[in-house]
């Protein structure tokens, strides 16, 4: 047992000395901040619900023609300032004197199909913003026209909040932050083992009265410990960022279990494929394959993490125990592989 802790300390010291863990943390920070930047950018460009017209941009639209009247309250509700005009020429001069940003011309008579003429400036960014924000009032107007034609649509007046940021936070950012430490842990184990194989330093270690299991176990424990600490760090930062997180202790356990599973898999790969190129490659493939399959089967640890964090009423200790069981089985597998290896 004493030698086990000595080995754990040796591993941790080597990580601390190389400062590579700093790079790893940097990468994670980078990914997290970057994906939120990307999301914000995309939302402001593609998501009509997320463009807050009244607060950020003041859009004014001129409306020409009486048939367009039912549209006006919808436009106003979305935050447009509506200016009525008698004809298109007036509206054009209104645009030139900077009274309005766009013009909607409604047809004189309503046919079976109503075709609105929308006049926007050619400058692309402004025009696409206007069209984006116009989407919702236009859809509501379309529902009015449908009702006039005797078509009833249900669920048209639901409120709710735009869910994109919420979903992104719990189903992308949090799982990435919990997965990355585990991924790094696996890498540490695989690298550290294959380095010992290739540089033949294992013989020296084995000359001391330490078993294979102690060596590999210590490497895995050190990596899992580091991963759990990182998870704790991320959860803390998310909390500071005022993200509501439920079941924090279970989340940490999940982080440790995930790191454990990935590290054990990495150790197995490193033992079977002794050279580093193969080990790294197979490790990456196994990981990607396992992720894909677990998503397809709907038993992904990342999904469990998301549900735990969000406070799902039907996810709890039981789900976590399943993964503990999986880790246990994998651990036994590794033990068997090590015993075989030791006999060689």
């Amino acid at each position: 047992m004493k030698s086990f802790f000595a080995l754990v300390k040796r591993e941790l010291a080597s990580v601390a000395r190389e400062r590579t863990i700093l790079i790893a943390i940097l990468i994670q920070l980078f990914i997290a901040s970057f994906s939120s930047a990307l999301l914000l950018g995309l939302l402001s460009l593609y998501d009509p619900d997320s463009v807050d017209v009244t607060a950020r941009v003041n859009l004014r639209v001129g409306v020409v023609g009486a048939t367009g009247e039912p549209l006006v309250p919808f436009l106003e509700a979305r935050g447009f300032r509506v200016v009525p005009f008698g004809n298109l020429d007036d509206a054009r001069s209104g645009y030139q004197s900077n009274q309005i940003d766009a013009v909607i011309v409604a047809p004189k008579v309503a046919n079976e199909i109503v075709t609105l003429q929308l006049f926007v400036p050619r400058a692309e960014a402004r025009a696409s913003l206007i069209q984006l924000v116009l989407q919702e009032p236009l859809k509501r107007y379309e529902n009015v026209l449908r009702a006039e034609r005797g078509l009833v649509t249900r669920y048209t007046d639901l409120k709710g909040a735009p869910p994109t940021t919420f979903e992104f936070l719990y189903s992308v950012i949090l799982p990435i932050l919990m997965f990355f430490p585990a991924f790094v842990a696996g890498n540490l184990v695989a690298d550290s083992l294959s380095e010992e194989f290739e540089l033949n330093t294992l013989e020296t270690l084995l000359a001391a009265p330490i078993s294979w299991r102690t060596i590999v176990g210590a490497k895995i424990s050190a990596a899992v410990l580091l991963a759990t600490l990182q998870c704790a760090l991320w959860l803390g930062l998310l909390r500071l960022n005022r993200t509501a997180l439920e079941n924090v202790p279970l989340l940490l356990v999940m982080g440790a279990l995930l790191a454990g599973m990935i590290s054990v898999a990495a150790a197995l790969v490193a033992i079977v494929f002794k050279n580093r190129e193969q080990a790294q490659f197979v490790y990456a493939l196994v990981l990607m394959g396992a992720m894909g399959v677990s998503f397809l089967l709907g038993v992904s640890p990342l999904t469990t993490i998301a549900r735990l964090a969000i406070g799902d009423a039907y996810t709890g200790v039981g789900n976590v125990l399943v993964f503990a069981g999986v880790l246990g089985v994998m651990g036994v597998g590794l033990g068997v592989a090590l015993t075989r290896r030791a006999r060689e």
Partner: protein, 527 residues
């Protein structure tokens, strides 16, 4: 050429030996294809948010089939009770939808709203005549331009948001095999560095350049083949795909060529490689997401690929905008590594900063420091240029004051660092001492940098000149003022370092602060 060929053949043999008995290349290929298909299958299901919301359904409610919603059939009373206990997030009771007031429930309602609206439209389209189901058309006209082709009229409820997600993901799938192949290239280099075969090779009558090209050649061929195969699989025009992705693969190889040169331990390489992979992935994907929205999107070759898959044309200038810097960086990487590929550099183990300084020392031709410094400043321009583009892209997409300041500062920091680092190394190794000589070097460094920038912005001026920031980042304005200013900042840093023995970082900080102020003045319109 003969030598390069010999080395290439040797590399192929080595690769075959490494993998014999382990995994056959065919198995790897099958696995790769399988994973690609898997990624493709997962691309637009919201697999990650699986079961994020709990929805109770009672009565004659619409059917909900979306993996984000876990649906439970309940009667109305139990549903209401469960909603109250927070065991459900939303309750759909016939045509009515009930939610709580807290955040989680409101988000669930928002998500459900989008889903149900879309379902209604799909249902209408399937069951009703099109004129009846979609009675509204909108024709877009341009208020300030006559005689231009107008887009087709659109139906508001059928208008899909123009996200290029799908095309970007397809384009990104090209990058995955490229990255894998270049990781193999890196490992091979590393391996030969450890078992000292590289040393043996270096003592043979061949140049470092030939070794690098020879070792790289097989992997470049694989990369090109991968591109061709993928283009054929996705039915893209092969020559166009090659034109887009060959510069990209050169760029990726350039980056992975630098990794083994600076490595110290295995863990080092893994992390550095990981870092490099994330940064390049981000650099390639991020701009492409903004295809058609900003011309800056063309800084990523993936944007070209997105255009290709959409069957849209792009101009020569738009093609050269990402491709030229990438190819130039490849050239630069080859040059740097052939200067560094000798035993003394490869086999020393210092900290990373020391190793970098060492690298600079080897790159500079000490007999002709003036020329070296000039050429070096000229040569790093493509790299700085890419860095500036990233800064510009992030800054223009987040129109915040903080980002503006951040962008001006970052660009100043990058420029000052690359202009002074070479001179700094020369000073610290005692190669140059006198102040006039240091100042001359500062002038030459600034000059080289400006010349390089002018040449490169010549290709892309129309694309980047649209944004306010570009005046500061790319010196698109006058020639004399920037030259004087840049010489001045660079001079201050090196003189502080050489004459007043200030620590390099402190001297650099002074230069960066002054440069940032100058940048801010330019954006503010002072020049």
């Amino acid at each position: 050429m003969r030598q390069i060929w010999t080395i290439a053949l040797r590399e192929v043999t080595r690769l075959r030996q490494r993998f014999s008995g382990g995994v056959s290349p065919l198995a790897i290929l099958i696995l790769l294809v399988g994973l690609g298909v898997l990624a493709f299958a997962l691309r637009d299901t919201s697999a990650l948010g699986n079961g994020l919301y709990r929805v109770g359904v009672s009565g004659d409610a619409a059917e909900i089939r979306d993996s984000r919603f876990s649906v439970m059939r309940v009667d109305a009373a139990t549903g209401a009770a469960l909603l109250e206990q927070r065991a459900l997030d939303v309750l759909v009771d016939g045509g009515q939808v009930i939610a709580r007031e807290d955040d989680k429930s409101r988000y669930a309602l928002g998500a459900l709203k989008r889903y149900l609206e879309r379902q209604q439209i799909v249902e209408l389209g399937a069951t009703q005549e099109i004129t009846r189901a979609f009675p509204l058309r909108v024709q877009v006209n341009y208020i300030d331009a006559a005689n231009v082709t107008l887009p087709e009229p659109f139906i508001p409820s059928l208008q899909a948001p123009p996200t290029p997600f799908r095309d970007v993901i397809v384009a990104f799938l090209y990058i995955m095999p490229l990255t894998f192949i270049s990781i193999f290239f890196t490992s091979s280099f590393m391996d030969e560095k450890i078992n000292r075969r590289l040393t043996l090779l270096l003592s043979a009558p061949i140049t470092p350049f030939q070794i690098i090209m020879g070792k790289m050649l097989p992997y470049l061929v694989f990369a090109t083949l991968a591109t061709i195969v993928f283009a054929l699989l996705t039915r893209a025009p092969v020559w166009l795909a090659l034109a887009i992705f060959v510069p990209t693969s050169l760029f990726i190889f350039a980056i992975y060529l630098m990794v083994p040169l600076f490595y110290r331990t295995f863990q080092d390489t893994t992390f550095i490689a990981m870092f490099v992979t994330t940064v390049t992935a981000v650099y390639l994907v991020f701009p492409a997401m903004f295809t058609d929205l900003s011309e800056l999107a063309f800084m990523s070759p993936l944007t070209l690929a997105v255009k290709m898959y959409r069957g849209e044309a792009f101009s020569w200038q738009q093609y050269l905008f990402p491709s030229v810097p990438m190819t130039l960086i490849f050239g630069l990487a080859i040059f740097i590594s052939s200067r560094l590929l000798h035993e003394e550099f490869l086999m020393t183990y210092y900290g990373l900063t020391r190793k970098m300084a060492d690298a600079l020392y080897w790159i500079i031709d000490r007999k002709r420091p003036e020329l070296s410094i000039f050429v070096m400043s000229l040569g790093v321009v493509p790299m700085v240029y890419l860095a500036q583009l990233i800064v510009l892209a992030i800054a223009t997409n987040l129109p915040l004051r903080l980002m503006l300041g951040g962008a001006l500062f970052t660009s100043a920091a990058v420029e000052e660092l690359v202009k002074t680092m070479g001179i700094g190394v020369l000073i610290s190794r005692g190669e140059v001492r006198s102040s006039p000589r240091v100042l001359l070097l500062a002038f030459l460094s600034a000059l080289g940098f400006l010349v390089g920038e002018k040449l490169l912005t010549f290709v892309s001026i129309a694309i980047v000149s649209q944004t306010v920031l570009s005046a500061a980042l790319f010196n698109t304005g006058l020639l004399i003022v920037p030259l004087a200013a840049h010489t001045f900042f660079c001079g201050i840093v090196v003189v502080l370092y050489a004459r007043f023995r200030a620590p390099y970082l402190l001297a650099l900080a002074v230069g960066i602060v002054l440069h940032t102020i100058y940048n801010a003045l330019i954006v503010g319109g002072a020049f």
